[in-house]
């Protein structure tokens, strides 16, 4: 009886603690959401906490009527799709041959790939390379340098390597070429890992910031993250100059910034819950090998 009571107590406390954790996790988003739906006056006078004050859509109206913002979103979508497709094509092209046991030179190629996981030239030589290839201020500067992640490649190889060889042999006896086997047998069986890796590539590209800062200076090629960074940056400057006395004007209204943040976050929040299990699978696959 006593045991049952303490069990219940434990469950109750655990539930409360978890609920608090979940709320801490969500509160920042709710606050930003509330700001984005509030009037400028209410935001500036600091009345907004977790609920909108003086409900107002002006911030979203200006974000959606800001053509540079829409353009940036369009560019980011294009960039993400293009780089995900190319990354996957290249990763598959590299991964499939390396699952073949009999392939001559496989060891050497694996070593060539593995070395890049532990050592890199660094930002500056990479920047010089991109500049020398005349890729600065092109979409390719954000696509080509990251085509294959050695880490994801290894996940793919270990997954494909687990496909029963008998299936491929059967196809080979039927006269299929290696390429035919890849397309008709291996890829359909690898669908879960392909989805997972595509998602990782896509999220990485969508959220990627450093390379956009390095390689893109033309504002019409600003991906969302870089565009958003400019807003955050303005935020910082007003915050820093705040101590220097009055007369400092704000860069952009807070509600507009909040709406922009939501604008860049919502696409992720919309797709994420449906794809969650693929992301989780990816972590497991990585852990098995890594």
């Amino acid at each position: 009886m006593n045991n049952r009571m303490s069990n219940r107590l434990f469950d109750g406390i655990n539930l409360i603690l978890l609920t608090v954790s979940v709320l801490i996790c969500l509160a920042p988003f709710i606050h930003i959401l509330a700001i984005s739906f509030s009037s400028n006056r209410a935001v500036t006078s600091g009345e907004v906490t977790l609920l909108p004050v003086e409900f107002d859509l002006h911030a979203y109206r200006s974000v959606f009527s800001d053509m540079t913002m829409i353009h940036s979103l369009g560019f980011t979508v294009l960039l993400t799709v293009l780089s995900t497709v190319l990354c996957m094509a290249m990763t598959i092209a590299a991964g499939y041959p390396l699952t073949k046991r009999g392939l001559k030179g496989k060891k050497l190629i694996m070593v060539i790939i593995l070395i890049t996981m532990f050592f890199s030239g660094g930002i500056i030589p990479e920047y010089i390379l991109v500049k020398d290839l005349h890729l600065l201020n092109t979409i390719w500067s954000l696509v080509l340098p990251g085509l294959i992640s050695p880490f994801y490649l290894i996940i793919l190889i270990s997954f494909m390597g687990g496909i029963p060889a008998s299936l491929e042999e059967a196809a080979e006896i039927d006269g299929a070429t290696p390429l035919g086997i890849l397309v008709r047998v291996v890829l359909p069986l690898s669908l879960p890992v392909l989805t997972t890796l595509s998602l990782f590539y896509a999220v990485g590209r969508w959220n990627g910031f450093q390379d956009t800062l390095l390689y893109i200076t033309k504002s019409e090629l600003y991906p969302l993250q870089l565009k958003l960074y400019q807003l955050v940056q303005n935020n910082m400057i007003t915050d820093l100059t705040a101590n220097e006395g009055p007369g400092v004007t704000r860069a952009a209204p807070e509600s507009l910034k909040a709406a922009s943040v939501m604008f860049a976050t919502v696409p992720i929040l919309l797709v994420y819950p449906w794809l969650q299990r693929y992301f989780v699978n990816g972590v497991m696959l990585g852990a098995v090998k890594g």
Partner: protein, 300 residues
């Protein structure tokens, strides 16, 4: 003859490898070749090969820079503090999730707790300023309403450090539970049942069964983290940091960016990058060695 048969059978596989290998040579190996500018007086007109050799001069200059030691210290300090603050959180959260009763509640909590992992640092930076800004941040608004003075969360070094670390916990704690939860699900059910029969309470079961069951995971993750002490992402310190707290927020990655791309001192920045890469490699290799000793399993 065997060679011809072999090629006829496998040429497609080699054809597939052509572009990926070209990628690795162009985008991964040629920058490594480009590292030679650390020993050269690099400028864009003469290019990598044309620039003059200067031996170790740039290294000597870097090792005399105050800023270099400051960023090196900050890199290690932020990583170490991050490890201390952020490492226990996922484990604690995983235990709570593992014990959580109604299944739907557990699932829902997981879904929500994973979200911050998918939010870019730029967005998190924006959120941080909305929450902790001195002028109009939510927290300071609340303090103001209580009649308290504003706290310079983002412009005071120590406060900034606290915010930096808490943001890290917020972003990574949920996602970090995945590996622990997987390990916990792998624990033999019978152990729990036997403990229950023996009258062990929930805390006892957690202490004697759940935690020992994830010991290997803990040790492995700890070693990986220690191995990455020299590696620090660029986005987080760059976006959350600001001029007022440069004393703490300036790390190797942001330093390389500033000296290289903002001031155009490519050689010096390459030296710093190379130093970081080499020392980082030593860290990772030692971590792997330690892992082999401790868990009979390498992490590489």
């Amino acid at each position: 003859m065997r060679g011809i048969v072999y090629l006829r059978r496998y040429w497609q596989l080699y054809a597939l490898l052509v572009l990926p290998l070209a990628y690795f040579f162009i985008f991964r190996y040629s920058p490594m070749w480009g590292v030679q500018i650390a020993f050269k007086d690099f400028n864009f007109f003469q290019g990598i090969t044309g620039s003059k050799w200067i031996g170790m001069d740039a290294f000597r200059e870097v090792f005399h820079m105050q800023d270099f030691y400051r960023t090196l210290r900050n890199t290690l300090m932020l990583n170490l503090l991050d490890l201390i603050v952020s490492f226990p959180a996922p484990l604690l959260l995983a235990v709570m999730l593992f014990e959580a009763r109604p299944m739907w509640f557990k699932r829902l909590s997981q879904t929500i707790l994973y979200i911050p992992h998918f939010i870019s640092w730029v967005i998190i930076g924006g959120i941080v300023y909305q929450l902790f800004g001195t002028q109009s941040g939510m927290i300071n608004n609340l303090l103001d309403r209580l009649g308290l003075d504003a706290v310079p969360f983002l412009t005071d070094k120590t406060w900034w450090l606290v915010i930096y670390l808490l943001t890290g916990v917020w972003q990574s704690a949920g996602w970090g539970t995945i590996l622990y939860l997987a390990a916990m699900t792998g624990i033999n059910r019978e152990l729990f049942e036997a403990a229950e029969v023996d009258g062990a309470g929930r805390f006892k079961r957690i202490w004697h069964i759940t935690l020992p069951g994830v010991k290997t995971t803990i040790v492995t993750l700890l070693i990986i983290n220690l191995g990455n002490m020299m590696t620090i992402g660029f986005d987080r310190p760059f976006v959350i940091g600001n001029k007022a707290v440069l004393d703490y927020s300036d790390v190797l990655s942001t330093f390389v960016y500033r000296t290289g791309l903002e001031s155009g001192q490519y050689t010096l920045a390459t030296v710093v990058g190379l130093f970081q890469a080499v020392v980082g490699l030593i860290f990772v290799l030692s971590a792997n060695f330690a892992s082999k000793k401790l868990t009979d399993e390498g992490i590489l």
